[in-house]
Amino acid sequence: MSQTLDRKFHADWIIRLIGIAFFAYLFFGFMLVPCLNTLTSIFREKNAAGQTDPLAVIRFFLAGSMGKFVWNSLKLAILLVLTVNVVGISIVLLTEYFDIKGAKILRMGYMTTMIYSGVALVTGYMFLYANDGILTTALRQSFPNMNPNWFSGFNAVLFTMTFACTSNHMLFLRNAIRGIDYNTVEAARNMGANPFKVLWKVVLPTLIPTLFSLTVMTFITGLCAMSAPTLLGYDSINPEIVRLAGSSAADESFPQARAALLSIILAMFTIVLLTVLSSYERKGHYLSVSKTKAKLQKQKITNPVANVLAHIYAYILFIIYMTPVVMIIVFAFQTYSAIRLKKLDLSQWTLINFFGKEDYQYLTSRGKYKTRVGAISGVFSNESTLGGIKLSFILSALAAALACVIVVVACNYIFNKKHKKSGVVLEYALLFPWLLPTILICYSYRTFFNSNAVWYVGNQNLYYAESVRILIVMAYTVTKLPFSLRMIKASFYAIDEELEDAAKNLGAKPLRTFLRVKLPIILPSVLAVFALNFNALFTEYDMSATFASKYGTSYAMVIQNMCAEEGMYGYNVNASGRRCASTVFIMIVSGIILYLVYGVGSRDLGERLAIKDRRRKRMEKLRAAFGGGKESKSAA
């Protein structure tokens, strides 16, 4: 007996040691050490005299124009908080609180940002509003004097991001407003408050905690903005970091250290904001004390003028949300000539932007016709596009799965009562990347692992050639750990402790209890987190831009490249069409994933069995009708 106990003890310890070693490797090797290296690199720079001068970069920062990038980012973040909250609150109230005609269609329009975001969305807006965009071209025909570059710089970034960043409002604020106990609204009305007073005094105060969180998240998004400023031309921190990271000391003064300094500044802002947020969250929320919640009923706007204005406002927003989507979908099926002319040609429907290849003949400057073989090609027949899709697909799926597995194992450990203290340490270690802007992690990886001197990765240069893909997977995984942990941890709370006891009592060992009892309970949430991670990573831009190289050209970079290369020297003639087609492809993929997660995945066993039962009954009915028909025929 003691021998078996000894063996069990040893096995337990070995598993534990492996676990500790793995998480320590992950935390120190891929979070702390690379980022600390970035931090210290600021102080290791040499000045013009060749001496190490710890304050050289900081002096440069204070004297030069680097402050502009910080200020620009701050300006964007502050204004974005205002505009996103105004639009975000509006769309939630218009679809969930007020009785607006066509609310269902409006909601679908407002939710389109959930199926295409980042670089796909920005290029979508550019397709419409850029100097050669559809809308700008149309407007210039009516107003020849207008500035064709009206959609660029700060205003364009602010406009695009305002509508791109309302997805969180649609998710969280919508849930919060649907959670309001309608009896509280009725009580206020009963005591004589008018609808707007009710909104202001009863409804909005209960939404403040959610709004606060959304505000902080929006601020951070604004501060760390990447795709919109890069594509629309705005000098904010992140694009500058990427630019500096790719620059060399021959071109400008200590570019690497400046990039490091900027990313550390960004990290400091993020840390301060998240500390404020978490201390606010700890204070507790307004919890509804109601045990019998009444469902919120839509409020009619009784004032006819206000009602008309609200409807107009709702539909203007709808048009802003929907126009790029509709245009992208429509033009994805148009030929390159229609797209170039920015005119819808109903006789020119084609699938070439998706599948197939065509040659292109063009007139050279010498007056000769030249043919470029396969210059017109679809998303799935263009090698580089398909390569980007494949690469992003594999890397995103790997990283999304890896993050989920790591977090599930960690949560299983954290939720064991025996590991109280070490569980907390593990949890904080996994939340650590939350404090760091993505760009800092990427930049740190890019500089730290771009050497043969990192012993713990076998002295391999991970930024070199194909190894960069490992680096991308690690960066993807690490940045997704905090989100995965928050979501999956919440699902672990749903496991009743007594279930584990019951399984134990019935004779199940811990591994069996985990696989047969706990895992099936959390699996829908884990799959949801996997899908959301995958969706976000598939079109991810920040990391793609930092790691962009021959072997690391991800889908986002492919889309970005398609903006620049169109038609030059007869190459990539239908780049815009392919860009539209690939955005449509992203929308379809994201849409299917969201449907699987929220539609199919959220069903519990009871609902699944009920559906199965209904299906069986329908089949039986059909069979009976079919068989019955035959019988009656033969009888006749």
Binding site: E498, L499, D501, A503, L506, V517, G606, L609
Partner: protein, 344 residues
């Protein structure tokens, strides 16, 4: 059958159980009763093996199982929440323990269907998800799951507390019937004294980690060993010195220095005293009408005593009416005053 010998359980510095000694007999329905935090569930979890005692021993059929693993104890448990696995069907829930024992498929099937029949679950219900069943049906699944592996003992941790009042009473009767049919030794945990009194062969009343009394429902109710037990079980009047003095004057062997209690149903309104009984005058202060009986609050001197009278439809007293209250000193339960004061 089950013997708990000097069990001590500690959580850090806090001692949850102090020298618990219980002997449960074969086939008995034994209840651990007490307010929340008294140690009843801790004792149950010590028997099932979820908690290991600091000292003492758990002996089942003369075998010391104190340090035996949970899964090797052969003790079934029905949890407060039922702890039914939500991702499995009713059938799979019941079959879970049998699959772990690596029984053959057809044997598992036979056993599952057999137990399901005994607890009144149909084949159709076996194919359902547990969430598709009602509270009462879920409870039957939990019982079937606990019984199917053939345990020597079954433990139930407040299995009725999640149900509404009507279903609780209905299932209480079913539970008792099932226990009788299966003849299995049952340990039942509850804070509901009515449940304990109606179900149990014997009851152990817990308080702050100690056992105050072990006895049959009648012993516990009518011969409460401690002031805590008499207060915890049923409603009771603590008699004022004024009334006690009257009884002493009439020859009752009571002491003013004691805490003297009498049950509500042992007092009577406007009845003629027999030998040894006394009456005191009072005014009906309030009346609560329950249908089956009526509860009167009668102001006697400085004290309000509560009296229950069967509703015979004839003798109903109005608020403000002067009445006499009949007391038999032999019904008084007296406890020395040095015992800890108990809030009533």
């Amino acid at each position: 059958m089950i013997k708990l010998n000097d069990i001590v359980v500690k959580f850090g510095d806090f001692t949850a159980l102090h020298d618990i000694n219980v002997h449960v007999r074969e086939g008995e329905f034994f209840t651990f009763l007490g307010p929340s935090g008294c140690g009843k569930t801790t004792t149950l979890r010590t028997i099932t093996g979820f908690i290991e005692p600091v000292s003492g021993s758990v002996v089942v059929k003369d075998r010391d199982i104190t340090h035996v693993r949970i899964e090797d104890r052969n003790i079934g448990i029905v949890f407060q929440s039922y702890a039914l696995f939500p991702t499995m069907t009713v059938y799979d829930n019941i079959a879970f323990g049998l699959k772990i024992k690596k029984l053959k498929k057809d044997e598992i099937d036979r056993k599952v269907r057999e137990i399901a029949r005994k607890v009144d679950l149909s084949d159709e219900q076996l194919a359902k998800a547990v969430s598709q069943l009602s509270g009462g049906q879920q409870q039957r699944v939990a019982i079937a799951r606990a019984l199917v592996t053939g345990p020597a003992i079954i433990c139930m941790d407040e299995p009725l507390s999640n149900l509404d009042a009507k279903l609780r009473v209905q299932l209480r009767n079913e539970l008792k019937k099932m226990q009788k049919d299966f003849g299995i030794t049952t340990i039942y945990v509850t804070h509901d004294q009515e449940e304990a009194l109606t179900l149990s062969d014997r009851i152990a009343v817990f308080n702050k980690g100690y056992i105050e009394q072990i006895g049959t429902p009648n012993e516990i109710y009518n011969f409460s060993k401690t002031e805590f037990v008499c207060n915890f079980i049923g409603d009771i009047n603590r008699l004022s010195d004024e009334i006690v003095q009257k009884m002493i004057d009439a020859g009752a062997e009571l002491k003013l220095s004691d805490h003297n209690y009498i049950r509500l149903e042992r007092l009577h309104v406007n009845e003629e005293p027999k030998l040894g009984q006394i009456t005191v005058d009072g005014v009906v202060e309030m009346r609560e009408y329950y249908g089956l009986y009526i509860k009167y609050y009668v102001k006697v001197g400085s004290q309000t005593v509560k009296v229950i009278e069967k509703n015979d439809g004839v003798r109903i007293y109005e608020e403000g009416q002067t009445v006499s209250v009949l007391i038999d000193p032999r019904d008084v339960m007296a406890y020395p005053a040095q015992e800890t004061e108990v809030e009533t």
